[in-house]
Amino acid sequence: MKTLTAVTAVMMVAALYLAFVWVPTERSMGIVQRIFYFHMPSFVVAAVAIYVGLAASIGYLASRDLRFDELAASSIEVGLVFDTVNLATGPLWAKPVWGIWWTWDPRLTSAFVLWLMFIGYLLLRRGMEEPGTRAAASAVLTVFQAVGAVIVYMSNRLWRTQHPQPVIGGGAGSGLDREMWVALLGCLAALLALYICLLQLRRRLERLRRETDGLRRTLYSMS
């Protein structure tokens, strides 16, 4: 855990250097374009977090081993944090460049729907007491949501192609220079390391919660 934290810290510093010093400023959007280097990777990490959550959920349903549930819940909660960063930094980029905070473009809409799904998942878990039923219910929910997220994105694209909107970040992924790619991938690697760090912390918390819950049940059974 200590080495992991140290490695993450070094990677974060390197990523900061890449994104703020090393990579040349983009010409048309100016310096604010540098938001991109942690805005976009945050979303990628959130997506990774969901699919880790999905895999762990399927693992739970197949094995009924609560360690999978631990991983799924942790990954999805950490994913929510990254998705929040993505959603919060988006408008701060859109405002100076396009003059608006938000537009219902397919990517933004999908990211927002995804965020609501994360919230729903965590609230459902909060509302349930018994670890086994909670794990089963949230695993099934995850499968539904992971499939749903894909369909949401597809349908949003369909919707917006019919209702033209100002295009946000249309060329963001397309016309990247080599240096930009390096900076982007560097930042992504750093954020992935951060994800793993946070995931470990969150799993420790979940294990602690399980232990507490078990002890409480033991106590009740003794009375």
């Binding site: 100016g30 310096i31 938001i35 942690f38 805005h39 945050s42 919060a88 701060l92 507490t212």
Partner: protein, 61 residues
Amino acid sequence: MEENLKWLWYAFSLAWVIHLLYVASLGRREKKLREELEALKAMVEERGRKQKAAGEAGLAL
């Protein structure tokens, strides 16, 4: 240019604030759970000792 730098600064600090808040909340929740765990451990132990004592008394009778 100056104007734009402001937005970059906002976005960057917001990202960090969100992460730091999350880590803080993890720490807080963990502390609370550890306290609860210690309390529960103590209670279970005490309950166990009482029951044991009661059991021995029962046998003596």
